[in-house]
């Protein structure tokens, strides 16, 4: 009896609080990896957002915009959902952004409809995330998006037999699927497909297996972080590089902060990715200058800062379109089909998938001014998310 009463009170409280959520300050909740092994990427969220605010000020349509950060640390959906709920209920945020890990993004997605909060995903790269709620937009990338061009390059470079080695989790499996399908359609042969546990650090046995498969090229994807280095080293030290087996990967394996650790042995590694810090454009130069002015270090810049910078652009656009009112449908409608030139190149939001359409570049590890960079050598223009696109 008492419980029922409590419920009624609660229901009344909800209907009151939703209407009263308007304030002059509009809060945006950012959930990112601020600590732990992936802290670098959370830091990049902040760098990217700070750069945008530095450039465009913190008021939109007369409203002050405030970014509130929360730490997701590791894949922990229960915690991320609690953080999102806290941001929505307690901080009364009007927009959510961030999310580094797929399961965490998946956990937040079901909240959005009821909370009427649009979310801009700044990293989590499994294709299906944007399908989980109509209020999700993504400014990062998907594995399909970056991998399909990789398979095409592999074919162009004359690879006939490819061994695929990916990390055994969602994005890795996406990468494997995308590469295999594309490469086989192009007439190539996949002779080996290995899924490596995420915590693998010793890649010797994997290299041995690739060697025995007789492949002339390796395609790999591992999430940016310590293991990528071990993979590249094992590739070189086990004599595969010397034996003429080529290495092709997505850019995650050769993120700029990792390059100095890979060292000169990494020269010549090919990768496809949507952003290179060395991308030669006025927008990128301005962006990097802003990052550094905000205290960011150039050798810590990763793709998540660009995703955050562009994500902030979308949020500002949504606030502008709704005049600061909570109207997620209108907000999302405002950014569908939006086009602009990002530091990574020309991009647009696909109105059907709400995922970013962007150029994917073929890059090669090179030395320039004594520093290792990913030198862009070819461009695949306006790539959609091949995982969601109707083919």
């Amino acid at each position: 009896m008492v419980k029922t009463l409590g419920w009624l009170c609660a229901a009344a409280a909800i209907s009151l609080s939703v209407g009263a959520a308007q304030a002059d300050t509009i809060k945006v909740g950012v959930i990112g990896t601020m600590s732990g092994p992936y802290a670098l990427f959370g830091k990049n969220y902040k760098m990217g957002i700070d750069a945008w605010v530095a450039e465009h000020g913190n008021t939109v349509a007369g409203h002050t915009v405030e970014f509130v950060y929360r730490d997701e640390v590791s894949p922990n959906p229960a915690q991320s959902k609690a953080l999102a709920q806290e941001l929505i209920v307690k901080e009364k945020v009007q927009y959510l952004a961030g999310l580094y890990f797929t399961p965490n993004a998946m956990a937040v997605a079901p909240l959005l409809q009821e909370a009427k909060v649009p979310m801009v995903v700044l990293n989590a790269a499994t294709s299906s995330i944007t399908e989980k709620s109509p209020y999700i937009v993504r400014t990062s990338f998907t594995m399909f998006q970056n991998t399909v061009p990789a398979a095409k390059v592999a074919k162009q470079k004359g690879a006939k037999k490819v061994a695929i080695a990916v990390s055994d989790y969602g994005p890795g499996i996406d990468a494997e699927t995308a590469f295999k399908k594309t490469f086989e359609t192009e007439g190539g042969q996949v002779v080996e497909a290995i899924r490596m546990p995420l915590n693998t650090t010793d890649f010797g046995p994997i290299m041995q297996r690739i060697k025995n498969s007789g492949a002339d090229m390796i395609f790999t994807f591992l999430p940016a972080g310590p293991p990528t280095l071990g993979f590249v080293k094992a590739y070189i030290d086990n004599g595969l590089k010397a034996g003429g087996v080529k290495l092709m990967s997505t850019g995650d394996v050769v993120t700029e902060p990792d390059l100095p650790n890979i060292g000169e042995a990494g020269l010549g590694i090919l990768s496809t990715y949507h952003y290179a810090v060395s991308h030669d454009s006025p927008e990128n130069k301005a962006f990097l200058a802003l990052l550094q002015k905000g205290g960011g270090k150039l050798d810590e810049v990763t793709m998540t800062s660009v995703a955050a910078y562009d994500g902030a652009r979308l949020i500002y656009k949504m606030i502008e379109a709704t005049g600061g009112k909570s109207d997620p449908d209108k907000a999302i409608a405002a950014v569908k089909g939006m086009q602009w030139v990002s530091p990574r190149g020309p991009v647009s939001i696909d109105p059907d998938t709400r995922h970013i359409t962007q150029n994917v570049y073929l890059r090669e590890v090179e030395k320039a001014d004594g520093k290792l960079i990913n030198k862009e050598i070819d461009t695949f223009k306006a790539q959609p998310d091949w995982g969601l696109a109707k083919q």
Binding site: S35, G36, P37, A39, L40, D168, I194, R195, M196, P197, N199, T200, T201, D202, G204, P205, I206, Q208, R209, K211, N212, G225, P226, P227, L229, G230, K233, A234, I236, D237, N238, G239, A242, G243, P257, P260, N261, G263, A265
Partner: protein
């Protein structure tokens, strides 16, 4: 058969890394009966110090190893003095587990705070870089070095334990601490020396094994149980046991990775369960 022979050097190298790091823990657990989950944390400190010495001080690889080992032992002194002494031989496992988890968290937090949350490279000297042609296959030169380090460690420890005065005291204290005390061996000194030895070996293993177990802020947590598992499988306090367990588990893990990498550590832990079930005190262990 060819392929199995091909992965043997990898298995051997991995096993030797496990051995080099775990052997210190094994001796410590045999003597002081401390379930020390923070052993990996000391290996991590060694790795951090070596990385710092190599990249910031620019010293040579052998000097870096020396700095790492001595530095880690120095860092470990307050831990031994203030904390470990309280749990030698007398506490139950639960207390030991929790205290050493606490120590691990503390060290990980401090390392993050001082060195930042990125992985730490330990650049190899040119001699150890690149592939080495075994005839049968190419193998990273570094792995031969690791295998050599494992063998040298094992032989040195054998000599230390079997042929020196310290070894006599150590064995006496392992077999019967009270009796050793009664015979005038000052066990506290033997304990402290053993602790320093264990920590030094951990640091050494952490540095030379960094190619296989890369040094990063969560190293201590990631491998927290691995070393403990190796010691239990081998039998606490037994050099032979630790060697057998390291090689066996190294083989199980490497073969598993080769044949069915998608199963992760499944085969490693299946092997652990079978061995521990059949030999609850380890392959070469004694019941206490």
């Amino acid at each position: 058969m060819q392929t199995l022979l091909g992965i043997l050097p990898d298995a051997l190298a991995y096993g030797m890394v496990l051995f080099t790091i775990s052997i210190g823990l094994s001796i410590m657990m045999g003597l002081m009966r401390v379930v020390n989950l923070a052993h990996g944390a000391f290996a991590m400190i060694g790795g951090y110090l070596a990385s710092f010495a190599l990249t910031s001080l620019g010293v040579s690889y052998p000097i870096a190893i020396l700095i790492a080992v001595i530095g880690t032992v120095i860092v470990s002194v307050p831990f031994e003095f203030l904390l470990y002494r309280r749990i030698y031989r007398r506490s139950d496992e639960l207390t030991q587990i929790l205290l050493t988890i606490g120590i691990t968290f503390f060290i990980v937090g401090i390392a993050n705070y001082i060195f930042g949350p990125t992985s730490k490279p330990i650049p190899l000297p040119d001699l150890l870089k690149g592939p080495f042609d075994l005839g049968l296959r190419m193998i990273p030169a570094h792995r031969l070095f690791v295998i050599g380090c494992g063998v040298v460690t094992a032989v040195a420890l054998w000599l230390l334990i079997e042929k020196t005065e310290f070894g006599v005291r150590l064995r006496a204290a392992v077999d019967n601490g009270d009796m050793a005390e009664a015979l005038g061996i000052r066990t506290q000194i033997v304990y402290s020396a053993t602790f320093a030895l264990a920590v030094g070996l951990a640091a050494f293993g952490g540095v030379v094994g960094a190619e296989l177990l890369p040094v990063e802020p969560y190293y201590a947590l990631r491998y927290m149980v691995t070393f403990l598992v190796v010691v239990s499988v081998g039998g606490a306090g037994s050099v032979t046991g630790a060697m057998a367990a390291s090689l066996l588990l190294g083989l199980a893990d490497t073969t598993g990775k080769y044949l069915a990498p998608e199963f992760g550590e499944f085969f490693f832990y299946v092997a652990v369960i079978v061995i521990v079930y059949v030999f609850p005190h380890g392959l070469f262990g004694k019941a206490h």
